[in-house]
């Protein structure tokens, strides 16, 4: 029940885009067509689901103060938390690289559809952001971390697909010239954010 609540919250209320603005760059750059947007969303969700439990384990067994006790008593007061950022970003970059190779080997069609955006997932703030929030919120087990990753990823997928669908329609509407392109996308995202605020207070 706790996990279901976390899942729903991370999709609708703590949405990566509308509440924290994470992953905005690729969100704005790739949302011109629904199909690519959906593909990127699925890839981001997948990376989140895989990387969160791994980073949780690293944080829990290596980084937090006293985590190294399993190596022996003399390591009990080691505090490696300052290494967090470097460890997390290396894990994410390596995971994305492995994922890229696996997708290329097993589903070449998806690989071609995603193109350059696949390696760029490594620098998508939504992934590192979710890992840092996971560290900050101090989840008790890897399962909760996975649920949080899945929820954040699906929230991101939902946001980018909606924006892409709206932007496809925008090509036929009369937008003031100075706002065309990036300006109107900002306003639409803002309005979608206001719409998503109506989910505030949902509790299961």
């Amino acid at each position: 029940m706790e996990n279901l609540n976390l899942f729903i919250r991370s999709i609708f209320i703590d949405n990566m885009i509308f509440a924290y603005f994470l992953g905005m760059c690729s969100f704005l750059a790739v949302s011109k067509n629904v199909k690519t947007a959906f593909g990127l969303g699925v890839a981001v969700t997948f990376v989140l689901i895989v990387s969160l439990p791994i980073c949780w384990a690293i944080n829990h067994f290596i980084l937090v103060p006293g985590a190294l006790t399993w190596l022996g008593e003399e390591y009990a007061d080691a505090d490696l938390s300052f290494l967090g950022l470097i460890m997390f970003i290396s894990v994410i970059a390596a995971l994305v690289q492995i994922l890229e190779m696996a997708i290329e080997k097993f589903t070449p069609a998806l690989y071609n559809a995603l193109g350059i955006f696949l390696p760029l997932i490594a620098v998508n703030c939504a992934i590192l952001g979710a890992v840092l929030f996971m560290q900050q919120r101090d989840f008790d087990n890897a399962w909760t971390a996975t649920v949080y990753g899945a929820g954040s990823g699906i929230g991101w997928l939902l946001a980018i697909t909606c924006l892409a669908a709206i932007r496809q329609r925008l090509t036929v509407s009369a937008v003031p010239a100075p706002l065309r392109g990036i300006g109107i996308s900002f306003i639409i995202t803002g309005l979608m954010g206001i719409a998503f605020m109506s989910f505030l207070g949902i509790k299961i």
């Binding site: 290396s90 970059a93 003031p176 300006g183 900002f186 605020m197």
Partner: protein, 202 residues
Amino acid sequence: MKISKSLLPLVTPLSKDNPVIVQVLGICSALAVTAKLEPAIVMTISVTAVLALANVIISALRNTIPTSIRIIVQLVVVAALVVVVDQVLKAFAYDVSKQLSVFIGLIITNCIIMGRLEAFALNNRPWPAFLDGIGNGLGYGIILVIVAFFRELLGSGTLLGCQVIPQWCYEHGYANCGLMILPPMALITVACIIWVHNRKAS
């Protein structure tokens, strides 16, 4: 005004080639830290420092980095610099560092940094790369400060934590606009800046 050619990398990012509103990079943090002016200024200084140093380091190493692993090398250099900034802020500005929370760590994945490293530092000598880093950092900072100024003024009636809207205004029925502090208004404020900027440019 005539600007010598060597200073161009420093000046163009301020308005004509602004990283946030023209190149559309680094939006995430530009929006998230601008509810108040003080974190926005601290964020500007941190990003400018990391960007300038990372540009110099990558530009100095540009002939030795193999192309196939350059993203990982860049990430490691930037991550190391961000760890230093994070520790410095924790030591000297603990309150602001708490307010910025994960966004200091997210400087690593700030697209401005990766974008400038890829587009500029890999093909230029260290000194122009340094100027480009400072210029883009300040260009990012200008937008942050403008957005934070309006959001803090209209949303909380304060600037840098000091009350600027006098008490009698509130007594005559003026109220702070709570919506300005919430995330969606950051996007709309940036859209207004883009509107004014494009209007001027055309």
